[in-house]
């Protein structure tokens, strides 16, 4: 027959392949998001649909003292978790890289230990750290504190400020693996000639770290900070098991607040307004990340 040169296949067929995922995303993301935005502007409850369009939920939300303290808690939790995770992740990455380049033993077991904590479900991480921070005399960290200061009565989870710090420690334990892996991959592909040239120039290890390695890895640091920030803003499961948001509202972050406002206070309007705020945070961070990825390939 006259099948000479096969025509490039229609891209229309390929677009058809996008359809199943697009439909699923439409029903699981787009419709619910539209719904929650609508609720945030009405006086709905989980039981009955409201119709009145108003900004009441937003005004009530933003003018309440409770919510301001929730935002403060969330910001403290996010900023300290992110800084500690990225810093510790970088230290571990440097450690692994140093060991690998010199053929030292022990790097694989350290890497595995860090990664294992990442694979553990958040709820289990919360349960585990609740045991670690047990304030009974037989508790591990309590015993350690007694050993250092014999008469001390440490309160790791029963005072709001300490509970927030404890939550950050647990979150760092759980999340550091991600930063470690990203930065470790960056160090592994670090241009070797750059390192050697600076060594010949007589730069010492610290100069090489701060004047060469960190500046070269800066884009990776930014990606790492962005992704970890989004993940930390969305933290829910670990805190649910570790503190349940307490004591009082000491560790109630935004995601927990949304859940509690809707499911225990039945205030759908205000809970939805808070959810829209979390949504906007997610979208803004995604936008920065997206632009950054684009710039990297251009």
């Amino acid at each position: 027959m006259n099948r000479t040169v096969s025509r490039p296949p229609h891209e229309g067929i390929l677009l058809f392949w996008l359809l199943p995922l697009a439909i699923v995303c439409m029903s699981v993301f787009v419709i619910p998001v539209v719904q929650i935005v609508r609720w945030s502007f009405t006086d709905s409850s989980l039981m009955k649909e409201g119709h009145e369009l108003s900004f009441r939920a937003y005004i009530a939300l933003l003018s309440s003292n409770d919510f301001m303290s929730i935002l403060r808690t969330t910001l403290i939790f996010v900023i300290s978790s992110v800084l500690l995770q990225v810093a510790l992740g970088f230290v571990i990455a440097l450690f692994l890289d140093y060991g690998d380049r010199r053929g030292l033993r022990g790097t694989i077991i350290v890497r595995t230990a860090v990664l294992v904590s990442w694979a553990i479900p958040g709820v289990v991480a919360g349960v585990i750290w609740k045991m670690m921070f047990s304030e009974m005399d037989s508790g591990l960290i309590t015993s350690l504190a007694h050993f250092i200061v014999p008469a001390s009565r440490p309160r790791f989870l029963s005072s709001p400020a300490a509970a927030l710090a404890s939550s950050v420690v647990a979150n760092v334990w759980r999340g550091t693996a991600y930063s470690m892996i990203l930065l470790y991959a960056g160090l592994m592909t670090f241009p070797n000639d750059l390192n050697e040239a600076s060594q010949i120039d007589g730069a010492n290890a610290f100069q090489r770290l701060f004047q060469i390695k960190i500046p070269v890895l800066a884009p990776l640091f930014l990606i790492c900070i962005l992704l970890v920030t989004v993940q930390t803003f969305n933290t829910f499961d670990m805190l649910m098991a570790l503190t349940g948001g307490g004591p009082g509202r000491g560790t109630e972050v935004l995601a927990l607040y949304i859940y509690k406002t809707i499911f225990t206070e039945f205030n759908l309007g205000r809970g939805s307004a808070a959810a829209v705020l979390l949504l906007l945070i997610n979208v803004a961070m995604t936008w920065v990340y997206f632009c950054f990825l684009k710039r990297g390939t251009a």
Binding site: P20, I128, W173, I258, T286, Y289
Partner: protein, 278 residues
């Protein structure tokens, strides 16, 4: 590289031990708690490791809680959700890698937003919606939500992978007369196997950990996966049964740990490349 000096070597191992301890001690402590007797739990001094490990604590957990049912549910949810996610995202990723169309950038951006979105935001409308059309508290509808939640990550990751497969291979397939679907299944997918395996492992870990979705979309104890079952157990147990909770935690993470240690190589490469590729 020249050999490090003894001082540097000592510093290296000191740091290594400190890092290792921070990450392993909580797990060691949980294991130790799970094997203790009640007097050891309440003694006024520290018991690092129980004198006689009480393996009967584990037998009690198997008898008195629904942990085995939880593990079964987690396994069913994880395997089906990962398979559906792959079926949804492989064709999409391939299509996004090979075609240009108006609005593609926007579509990619939208998918990225879905990936970053907190499940708490979407699960509340879904809860109401599921109740209204009578698919609330069902495993199959939950599994679809899982697949939707994890597909965006898989699509971005796999698109990056397909992008590295040279166009010459498409060309060769076309000359051989293979259609798009045959080319994907018999030519591109075999090449992309390492990427698909990495994605599958990362998805398994995330599915096993997922908490918010089942917590809100399920009501029946007999359907709970591990994280929801454990939280339930935690809220019904008190100080006197803390060793059982520890044992249940160990049982609950055992399957994922085994999977993790076998496939660690893929997790390391997967996590690293997933975040930086466009």
């Amino acid at each position: 590289m020249n050999k490090p000096k003894p001082v540097a070597l000592a510093g290296f191992y000191l740091i290594g031990i400190a890092i290792f301890a921070f990450f392993i001690v909580p797990l060691f402590w949980t294991l130790s708690m799970s094997l203790k007797t009640i007097p050891e739990l309440f003694s006024s001094k520290l018991t690092l490791w129980p004198k006689v490990p009480q393996f009967s604590n584990y037998a009690k957990i198997f008898q008195n809680t629904m942990i085995l049912v939880n593990i079964k549910n987690s396994t069913v949810i994880t395997i089906s959700a990962v398979l559906i996610t792959l079926v949804l995202s492989i064709p999409s990723a391939f299509a996004l890698s090979r075609s240009r169309f108006h609005g593609k950038q926007f579509y990619m951006f939208l998918i990225l937003i879905f990936q970053m979105l907190s499940p708490v935001v979407v699960v509340i409308p879904l809860y109401r919606f599921f109740i209204s059309i009578n698919i609330y508290n069902k495993l199959w509808s939950l599994i679809i939500v899982y697949a939707a939640t994890f597909s965006p990550f898989a699509v971005w990751y796999l698109k990056g992978y397909f992008d590295t497969v040279p166009a010459a291979i498409d060309e060769a397939a076309r000359i051989d007369g293979a259609g798009r679907l045959r080319a994907l299944v018999f030519i591109h997918m075999p090449i992309a196997i390492p990427g698909i395996v990495s994605v599958a492992i990362l998805l398994i870990v995330q599915c096993w950990s997922q908490f918010v979705l089942p917590f809100i979309l399920l009501d029946d104890k007999r359907l709970f996966p591990i994280p929801v079952g454990l939280l339930n157990l935690q809220s019904t147990s008190d100080a006197i049964t803390i060793h059982y909770l520890a044992a249940a935690s160990i049982i609950g993470i055992l399957p994922i740990m085994i999977c993790f240690i076998i496939f660690q190589k893929f997790i390391v490469s997967g996590l690293a490349s997933g975040a930086t590729k466009e």
